[in-house]
């Protein structure tokens, strides 16, 4: 065993993040750590990498008890964490990033030739055919991820910890990453791999470890790693399959609540988009990355300027020059990037939940009523199932799934007529995902019109009454629930012709 963690305990205010967790990692194996958001995976990884000090337990490297006071100590011991958010300085070139802080030098002067050789060697080890003098700014996300790995390898890392490495990669980039990971494993590196994407774990992992609520639940050997069994032990219950969620919703929807006529976004001004969503209807917006889904939602909500187009809410044309106008018209948007756009991370859960509806709770729309705000926040925390349900906790302290519940919940209090959501379950664990889906269903049943953009096929199919597929800025086709399938969506998303049945639905 290279790395052994025994009985690790970590407390945060109000939460026992880790409650006596063990983890062993041997040379030449890939250990997958899975669990819902908030299960304690990230905390455990930060402890292994010296980012966070544990409150109890032992760490052993090569059998010797160790304490990591900082990430530097961990790196010196050969344990390197590659963060979920990439941390490359894109004003520097690739070689400079790889050797950052460990540049070969003579006195104050950089030994350039030496640096180039070492950076090139690290890039080769990571399986990257890249010139060290290339600029990081010009690289795609997948290549950047591999540069991070090269950086880790240049420190002679023996344990590589990867936290959701594929979250921003395309399928091809991810494949390349997997090949590199497998090769590193075969060369004797120990790899700890965290991902929500169970397909990746089925492919890569030699062993799986499941955490739930800060405790070790069970481990899986290579041949036991099967999606459904992992999900079951992650969640601790049988998941009601989402697929049936909208089955009872019926197709007799009410009046049109949102109508978009001839909308042209700045990004794709050549295409006019028309779309109508009725009361009680959930429309999923599918398409490949860059198809213009986010731009469409932002244009409806007034974040981005529109080149042309009319937006009608309940049959009435509304003038929307900004999000505030949209909110006044009864339109809500839950943005894609909840950390920067969806939440005030440094404010409490309740401050976040009441913000959009603040004027409604205030006397005369101006003077705040703390008791009314508190009541609203408490009821929203309960309705959204935010955990922990401590409403003066900072929103930044919540897990991804619970942050998302707050990002949705801050609009639920305003009873919007039109609910727009951009990737509502990105980076959210299986349990929270089901809760958010159920929430969308409830919102629709209460009579609102829901438009949700998602990159996940399963989600598109599970929660919607209709899938609208975009391709390069235009609506490529619409699929009713009974016609929608992964292949039909993919055909439209890649610019292929719609099936005949589907085409009749477009009108």
């Amino acid at each position: 065993m290279i790395l052994q963690a025994r009985n690790i305990v970590k407390r945060y205010p109000g939460v026992l993040a880790l409650d006596g967790v063990d983890l062993d990692v041997a040379a030449g194996e890939i250990v997958a750590v899975v669990g819902e958001n908030g299960a304690g995976k990230s905390t455990l990884m930060k402890i292994l990498a010296g980012d966070v000090a544990p409150d109890g337990g032992d760490l052993r490297v090569d059998g010797r008890a160790t304490r990591f006071g900082s990430p530097r100590d961990a790196i010196d011991a050969g344990v390197v964490l590659i963060h979920q958010e990439l941390s490359l300085a894109d004003n520097l070139d690739v070689g400079a990033n790889i050797l950052l802080g460990r540049e070969p030098r003579t006195g104050p002067f950089l030994r350039r030739a030496d640096a180039a050789v070492r950076a090139a060697a690290a890039l080769r080890a990571a399986g990257l055919d890249l010139d060290p003098s290339a600029s990081v700014a010009s690289l795609g996300m997948g290549t950047r991820q591999l540069v991070e790995i090269a950086k880790a390898l240049s420190t002679e890392a023996r344990v590589l910890i990867m936290d959701e490495p594929t979250s921003s990669l395309t399928a091809a980039e991810a494949d390349r990453l997997f090949e590199t990971i497998e090769r590193l494993r075969d060369e004797g590196t120990a790899i700890v791999y965290i991902s929500h994407r169970l397909g990746e774990i089925e492919r890569l992992a030699d062993r799986g470890v499941v955490l739930r609520d800060g405790r070790f639940v069970r481990s899986f050997e290579r041949d036991e790693i099967v999606r459904d069994r992992i999900v079951e032990s992650m969640v601790g219950r049988d998941l009601a399959v989402d697929a049936g969620l909208r089955a009872g919703a019926g197709s007799h929807h009410g009046e049109a609540r949102l109508e978009i006529r001839g909308l042209r976004t700045i990004r794709h001004p050549q295409h006019a988009v028309d779309l109508t969503i009725r009361s009680g209807e959930i429309v999923a917006l599918g398409g490949l990355v860059g198809a213009g889904r986010t731009e469409l939602l932002r244009a409806i909500f007034g974040i981005d300027r529109r080149v042309a187009g009319e937006i009608l809410v309940d049959g009435e044309s509304r003038r929307i020059r900004g999000p505030a106008d949209a909110a006044d018209a009864g339109i809500a948007l839950v943005p894609e990037d909840r950390k920067s756009d969806g939440l005030l991370l440094d404010e409490s859960i309740s401050e976040n939940l009441v913000l959009p509806g603040l004027a409604r709770t205030a006397a005369g729309g101006v003077i705040r009523r703390p008791r009314a705000e508190r009541g609203l926040a408490e009821s929203l925390v309960t309705r959204m199932g935010v955990r922990p349900a401590i409403h003066d906790l900072l929103a930044g302290g919540l897990s991804g799934g619970n942050q998302q519940k707050v990002a949705v919940g801050r609009w639920v209090g305003c009873d919007p007529i039109v609910f727009l959501l951009d990737e509502p379950t990105r980076g959210v664990d299986v349990g929270a995902k089901a809760e958010i889906h159920a929430l969308l269903d409830r919102i629709a049943r209460s009579g609102a019109a829901v438009l949700a953009a998602s990159s996940e096929m399963e989600e598109l199919l599970a929660v919607s009454d209709r899938v609208v597929v975009m391709h390069e800025g235009r609506i490529a086709g619409t699929l009713a629930r009974h016609d929608a399938s992964e292949s039909a969506i993919m055909r439209l998303a890649t610019g292929g012709p719609a099936a005949d049945v589907a085409r009749s639905e477009i009108s």
Binding site: P323, P335, G342, R368
Partner: protein
């Protein structure tokens, strides 16, 4: 909780400075000196509250001193040199302050210039205007306009306290501070302003008209700077355009930061800012009164105290954070 801690910290520093000064010099705790301190604190408090608004939305205003100079010099220049009636001159110069703020706000929000640049240019431009308009000559009320000057010169004697009177400027500060507290803590607008400073994008996505709040903060800041400029000139009676109001923006920003405003935006307390402004005045006063501190090092002393305050504040914050999360 966190805010209360910060205010308590700067308040402790103020009390400690007062106690130390009164132990070192018999002139500190005199009716005349205290009254004078209250008057000066009130005037600086007004412009510091303005600075706090801009800092809360994550901006900065370096032009405060020059707005003080421009408004402060224009008022006697209009009244004395040109015989403009009071009812026109006073609202006119106050409106000028608001308009300058509107320009700052629009340049920051619409043209997307950096606040530092916009208000640095303001600092230069308004100083130049003040000197140009007045021909760089001293302007003053020349013993006239007693009625107008009574706005800041009135004293309310406190019976039983020999010779001590409450200056009218204190009442002006209390009025403005009350309005500011009501705005920030009890109205939706204040909440929106704070949210804008905390994370403008998330606030905007939450339906807050963030652009308006940014502009509003600059209008309030320059408006209060102009109002403060009027109070300052009414107080001192005459001014030289070349140095009237010099460094006042730095005193205002220092008071705001000492009082708990974060330059990252989103945080600030009116009471804290006033205590910060008082601390600056007491320090200056102490240096003047204590014989063995040479007067010409006063900026060095003030700078050292502010940095000490910032260090202890940061240390305190980390201590709290460590207790809560256990991270080193």
């Amino acid at each position: 909780m966190k805010r209360a801690g910060k205010i308590l910290g700067v308040f402790g520093l103020l009390v400690a400075t007062c106690v130390a000064t009164s132990a070192l010099t018999p002139y500190f705790l005199t009716a005349y000196n205290i009254e004078n301190l209250l008057r000066r604190t009130s005037l600086f408090g007004v412009i510091s509250i303005g600075a706090a608004f801009v800092i809360i939305v994550g901006g900065i205003d370096l032009s405060i001193g020059s707005v003080v100079a421009l408004v402060g010099c224009l008022l006697p220049w209009l009244l004395v040199e040109h015989g403009v009636p009071i009812w026109f001159a006073v609202p006119g110069v106050l409106l000028l302050g608001l308009l300058l703020g509107l320009c700052h706000g629009l340049l920051v929000q619409r043209v997307r210039l950096q606040p530092f640049i916009v208000t640095l240019c303001g600092l230069l431009i308004y100083r130049g205007m003040a000197r140009g308009v007045t021909g760089d000559q001293t302007v003053g009320f020349q013993n006239g306009f007693k009625g107008l000057r009574s706005l800041v010169k009135t004293r309310f004697e406190v019976p039983g306290l020999d010779g001590f009177a409450i200056p009218s400027t204190l009442l002006i500060l209390v009025a403005i501070a009350t309005l500011a507290v009501i705005f920030l803590r009890f109205t939706v607008w204040g909440r929106h302003l704070l949210a804008t400073g905390r994370n403008a994008s998330a606030a905007r996505h939450g339906g807050v008209r963030t652009d308006r709040y940014v502009v509003l903060a600059y209008v309030i800041c320059a408006g209060l700077a102009g109002f403060g400029g009027m109070l300052f000139i009414l107080d001192v009676g005459s001014a030289q355009p070349a140095d009237f109001g010099n460094f006042y923006e730095l005193f205002a920003i220092a008071a705001a930061v000492l009082g708990g405003c974060s330059l990252r935006g989103g945080e600030g307390s009116v009471i804290g800012v006033i205590i910060g402004a008082a601390l600056m005045q007491v320090l200056q006063n102490a240096i003047t009164l204590i014989d063995w501190i040479p007067d010409n090092i006063q900026y060095a002393v003030i700078g050292a105290v502010i940095i000490a305050g910032a260090i202890s504040d940061e240390g305190f914050r980390r201590l709290l954070l460590r207790r809560r999360t256990g991270t080193p």
